[in-house]
Subunit: 213 residues, 2 copies
DNA sequence: ATATTGTTGTGATTTTTTTCACAGATTTCG
DNA sequence: CGAAATCTGTGAAAAAAATCACAACAATAT
């Protein structure tokens, strides 16, 4: 395999292409050009082609990409067929909203456990999942072979939770706490930092690009 | 004003520095070096200095940055003193969780309106905010001078909502719908695409970096 | 058949972002 | 005080990512 290193930004765009191409396939569109693919995503045609190019050549000169074929290839590249077990830590407002989120299954993710420290919550069910104690987390994660952990606890406890998760063998973390997590190199973390997003927007509102001290 | 163009990534890191420096100031630490600042954030010292360098020079050779001073400067740069009005559109699980989120005030954001299309919800209160009809949205946004809109509706309706928002004068959008929004150039959008985050992680779980077709 | 048009794949170029590296300033220590 | 250690600010270099530009090929029109 000619393993060129693929930029993470490319991977991330691939999902957008897959979405789009799925949409197009529902509309029974046969073919699509790189320009069309990029258009509504505000991406240049060259960008699209380069991204796809990392994975071999499945376009047809002169007529673009065959929608169904592209969809299938992207699906395969992006491992949309595999499934993994997931745990949520923290069942506050955000954690609960996530438990109710229907998108997990679509991504091949089985939400099989939820944890909290609040004794009033432990034992209760939420969206068909029983809330268990964080103190039992390590064992349960190992037992259920959970590979992906979602952290939805306050910043203060986030690093501790991350430590337990990685210790128990979790490979990826989706972190909602506004706190940078230090984890072993082989563990992949993605941050969803709501606080920072709001701050960024607030910054743009306040500065409209120009900076004054 | 020597308006060098400042990378958005820099701005985004500035918030992390501010967080850190706020923490340090609570610990009564007097000074901090670029190396220390970057350390727990996995950022190099040079990166930190360069980021701060965009806004003038407020470090002291040989001894680093004065914590309180840096905190204040960052605060100022990042417009942490100004406040703006915010509306949430969509009061499902996610929207409700957001309404309950306490972080808005901290960012100087006043959550002053919530909208939904569901007639059963309209008129009810959620976290002290009355849910109003999307059909009245345009007027209310203008009237309350709302500059930031948060979209927490399904992908299908997201573009329509974005259109109404921008039309009513909203300057920034925080978009939770898994859909790319087309908006006028002067409007700033930030996407929080949960679906894509999960997909990305799922990809890493499945591929552990290497790609096979 | 041949010309024309449309579109891919990719090397080259440009732009953006990060990292390096070091002069010059400050503090500390003997 | 003078030497050694610590840091910043920043130009230069490197790395990463996006964009350009064009040869090669396919489809369509004449």
């Amino acid at each position: 395999m000619p393993v060129k290193k693929i930029p993470e930004t490319t991977i991330s765009r691939l999902f957008l292409y897959l979405r789009k191409v799925t949409e197009l396939s529902k509309l029974s569109m046969k073919r699509v050009s790189s320009a069309e693919l990029g258009e509504s995503l505000n991406l240049g045609a060259a960008q699209v082609r380069k991204d796809l190019g990392y994975f071999g050549q499945f376009g047809v000169s002169g007529s673009g990409y065959v929608v169904t074929e592209l969809k299938e290839k992207l699906s395969k590249i992006l491992s949309k067929h595999k499934t993994f077990n997931v745990a949520i830590v923290g069942t506050g407002h955000l954690g609960s909203a996530l438990l109710a989120y229907s998108g997990f299954e679509k991504q091949g993710l089985n939400l099989v456990a939820a944890f909290d420290t609040d004794v009033n919550k432990i034992g209760k069910q939420l969206q068909g999942v029983e809330i268990e104690s964080v103190s039992d987390m390590k064992d349960i994660i190992k037992e259920k072979k959970i590979l992906l952990g979602i952290i939805a606890v306050p910043a203060k406890g986030a690093q501790d939770v991350a430590d337990i998760l990685t210790n128990a063998g979790v490979k990826c973390i989706l972190n909602f706490a506004p706190k940078h997590l230090n984890v072993p190199e082989e563990v992949k973390v993605r941050d969803v930092d709501l606080s920072r997003e709001l701050e960024m927007l607030s910054y743009f509102l306040g500065n409209g690009k120009k900076v004054k001290l």
